[in-house]
Symmetry: C2
Subunit: 247 residues, 2 copies
């Protein structure tokens, strides 16, 4: 696809960004389309039919409008994705009273996992990681602020925040990909999945090249406890950060 570079407006007033436009008061009576409505419709489609179902035509259909109408409000599909990410990310909140850095980061992490599991299409857009939409800025600010009061230097503060975020995204992505894979094959439980994959697994084991995998297959007791696994990793990261805060 052509990487069209939107050239900036020379000299004149800056083109209002998507977010500035979003905070703008009343779009006009004539305007039946708003960014709010567009975002809501797109998220609804993605939640119900998967991220791939969010096409400009499908979206227009849901909005009761011609296929090209949404382009008056949104630059393209990237903009639309940003809108969607921002909208669902508004659900991320931590009680105001909480000040302990670890509690803040941990809470956001657990919520982020839940959020991505609830909106699996989020995992399919890699750029979502860096998209600084208003609601994601708020989340980041909250976490950075919690770290800042612990005496960490600016660089370490950001690195620690990003470490947690990276783990959360990578982890949720894996979990979603795994779940999708199971669903695509119609397997409804971990046992069913393992049973279906048993032949392949037996072959791999028989090669003798994967003793550690075999050890896991035989000895593990929490193979399907994804929440535990997530918490394990998360606590590893948080412990590591804790060490650097001088505990």
């Amino acid at each position: 696809m052509a990487v069209a570079k939107k050239e900036g407006e020379e000299g004149g007033a800056e083109a209002p960004s998507l977010w500035e436009r979003m905070e703008r008061p009343a779009p006009l009576p004539r305007a039946s389309l708003t960014l709010e409505r567009i975002a809501a419709a797109a998220v609804e489609i993605a939640d119900e039919e998967g991220g791939a179902a969010v096409t400009m035509r499908r979206l227009a259909g849901k909005l009761g409008v011609a296929p090209m109408a949404a382009y008056r409000h949104v630059d393209g599909k990237d903009d639309l994705w940003a809108l969607m990410i921002d909208r669902v990310s508004r659900d991320l909140t931590v009680p105001e009273g909480t000040t302990d850095w670890r509690e803040v980061l941990r809470s956001y992490a657990l919520q982020s996992r839940e959020l991505m599991l609830a909106h699996p299409w989020m995992a399919a857009m890699p750029t979502s990681v860096i998209m600084l939409t208003p609601s994601r800025m708020a989340v980041a600010e909250r976490q950075l602020a919690a770290l800042a009061v612990c005496g960490l230097d600016a660089d370490s503060m950001m690195a620690a925040f990003r470490a947690v975020t990276s783990f959360v995204h990578g982890s949720a992505q894996t979990e979603i990909a795994l779940r999708d894979y199971q669903e695509r094959n119609g397997w409804t439980s971990g046992d069913e999945t393992r049973q279906a994959l048993a032949p392949q697994m037996r072959y791999l084991i028989s090669t003798g090249r994967y003793p550690a995998f075999e050890q896991y297959a035989l000895g593990a007791t929490r193979k399907d406890d994804r929440a535990w696994e997530f918490a394990f990793g998360l606590d590893c990261v948080l412990d590591g950060i804790g060490l650097r805060l001088g505990v």
Copy 2:
């Protein structure tokens, strides 16, 4: 860049008359396709022109073959991706002598980051995380084995391995997304990027809602040292695992 290709196909789009077919070129020498050749060509395209440029037609063109030819060897695009991932993942190696768990995991993590930065299209396929291709199985086995000898139970062993992997993928994805974003806008350095984003940044700061971001913007000295940031997060995860190994 919108590639305006469409090079002359022999025969053209004209009606293929009987006579035309009669003196059709000699029985062209069959260049037999192999999975190896297909994978190599696909990776080459992705490396040179980006993951989005890997289309079945472009691939066929590079292989000197008709658009549909590759389908005899590959089920579809998902298969092709798996092939590509497996191929580049062969580059991940750790000296045989290394036995220390931390050294093994750390080395693979650093190499994985380099690998993804060298093949940024890897970040664009979310399912890559769970794809157990042969070369990725080998990598996983090596890391699990390193953890297994430390007395960790099977569940924790897998959880620890996945924690590191998740961090690495999430982290590399962010880094790549950020780099792509810069390149797409023609910014060639961190300073140039910040300068270009300054207006937006000023607006955000002016709202007073992001004091921690402001603190970072003012106080950070390693804003562009991505390798350092990666190592920071990685060591956090490894330290956390270390704590659980009773070290």
